[in-house]
Symmetry: C2
Amino acid sequence: MSKARKYLNIRGNFDLYRGGKLQDPSIAYETWGSLNQEKTNAILIFTGLSPSAHAASSPDDSSAGWWEDMIGPDHAIDTNKFFVICVNSLGSCFGSTGANSINPSTGKKYKSTFPVLSLEDVAKGGYEVIKYHGISKLACLIGPSMGGMTALAFEVVFSGLTKSCLLISTCARAASMSIAIRSIQREIIRSDPNWKAGEYDDKNLPISGIRLARKIGMLSYRSSFEFQKRFGRERVSIGHESDDLLSLDFEVESYLDYHARQFIGQFDPNCYLSLSRASDLFDLADHGGSLEAAMNLIRSDKILVIGVRKDQLFPYWQQEELYNLFKEAGKEVSLITLDCKQGHDSFLASMDDFRPPIAKFLSSI
Amino acid sequence: MSKARKYLNIRGNFDLYRGGKLQDPSIAYETWGSLNQEKTNAILIFTGLSPSAHAASSPDDSSAGWWEDMIGPDHAIDTNKFFVICVNSLGSCFGSTGANSINPSTGKKYKSTFPVLSLEDVAKGGYEVIKYHGISKLACLIGPSMGGMTALAFEVVFSGLTKSCLLISTCARAASMSIAIRSIQREIIRSDPNWKAGEYDDKNLPISGIRLARKIGMLSYRSSFEFQKRFGRERVSIGHESDDLLSLDFEVESYLDYHARQFIGQFDPNCYLSLSRASDLFDLADHGGSLEAAMNLIRSDKILVIGVRKDQLFPYWQQEELYNLFKEAGKEVSLITLDCKQGHDSFLASMDDFRPPIAKFLSSI
């Protein structure tokens, strides 16, 4: 757990978008830089599905964050200039209240009783944190991947609370193939005998299901081009294929296995399911009745959309769709197209390509 | 079981490419049309991973085959002109010997003891059938998907036994992403508690594993473009997302579920694993030391490669690779590029696009 983690403890009922309630939830977050006196230099970052709020190191925690090379003094997201807040998504398991948290009304973990989560709720978690800091308008709202959908939810639900918005490898609503991929991942976790309808023993997690779901995730996060360049048909060792059907013959199999095993124990399965399903259910068009109508609720003066052509999970056409929607609504919007080989994960794996356009955008707001 | 199914029962040991042996194996096949007196009008078809030899209906079996609209009198593969043989792959479970067959030396099913299978062995099964018919040279060898890799194995192992070759949505060796996808499918089956290291009870199959593996397969067989057009974000029913985490909300989920359930019980899990792994292990470059060297073993006078741009499992660059290899080896080769929306499965789902080039090619040989 990051030593830099702070908690906003909300008192009372927190109403959820799809009808549920959470009693006294907490939102975990980290901050970098200083809020200026006018409170006009704040940036709020929503994350993808799996990261914590530990986006970068800080004096309180020197360990590298998931966007370490992006956030810091004189970095693309310059903490000499901006006060940067990253929130752990409500529903996640890194400090914010989620299915793995204690339900105050029962004294037990929510587990399968956690109410249906929406990205609108995750956005509300971020809103509570900026309200707590007395920030009435963000300089910029930033969201990669699921965080981009959350940023869009924030824009329409808390209309007018940000000057600008930076959307990275995201979408207005999930594509059919992305729904299919996430649906299969969820089913795999639920098919693990240790799942026990979400009431799994914390010492006996559905690790086989988590490992397999993560492997499928990794296929969708990266690109076949990258896999071909990195692994091709490299063998783990020569003559390995003899007669063990269970052996991992190819480097690509070994790579997936290594990384999937790293994930086990890090992410609570119920929390994973909650956020995965929230990603599928989110539809910007629910706000106003159509995507076009939703645009009228968005008040950012300046918007940048960054997309990667090889993204399979949030395909490039979805970045064009967002750009066109903003353009047609008369917004000041730019679209940056990147050709990084890593596909969806490029904003993490190929930061060199992302830093210049992000720095440029933030210097213009 | 098709009433048109014939069996070639091989006597004695059948040596496998990677060192194993099968005692007295059978190869199931079907035929259409008549072999001419000179035995020069035969076409041999190798199938993709999952189909049986029942490629089309015939007087003995009027049920539709998997390539029904492709094979028949005056069809693209014209049975007035050609004697068409389709073999069930060795290792499969539709009549040919596979892991679900009785091992004559034990009187029990092979199951987990089935030796490591190679596409070279599947090719040899086809070779035995044409030898049995006294065919010394095929008019054409046809292979879609895994069947195309098998056709290439046939070309290099039984050099000079075909005049021409038609390769559809296939490759010289599996791409890294395709290996990754199949590896995960196999792991999912093996993770099912009913799998029991391949010694599953036939009345208690690892159906959850099979269902999930099939769903992942379906994502790779089709294209995200098709899913978006067909399903978009259509809901199964309105208001369904209330609070059941296990519900299928979207039409795309329901589609995958329906088709995956259809697959259960049809395909033996051990057989599936055998053929899936054989697809990963096949490398045309094993024959001669490089892909270029392998080309020198191929004697077909005329080759047609057909590829679909949206194919994710046998991506289009692999069709170009094959075309370029043949071209550089001085072969008479053409490449037909199709833009069907169904991706890899287009040769089954969009036959209208495939019939004209196939008919044209076969009329030219």
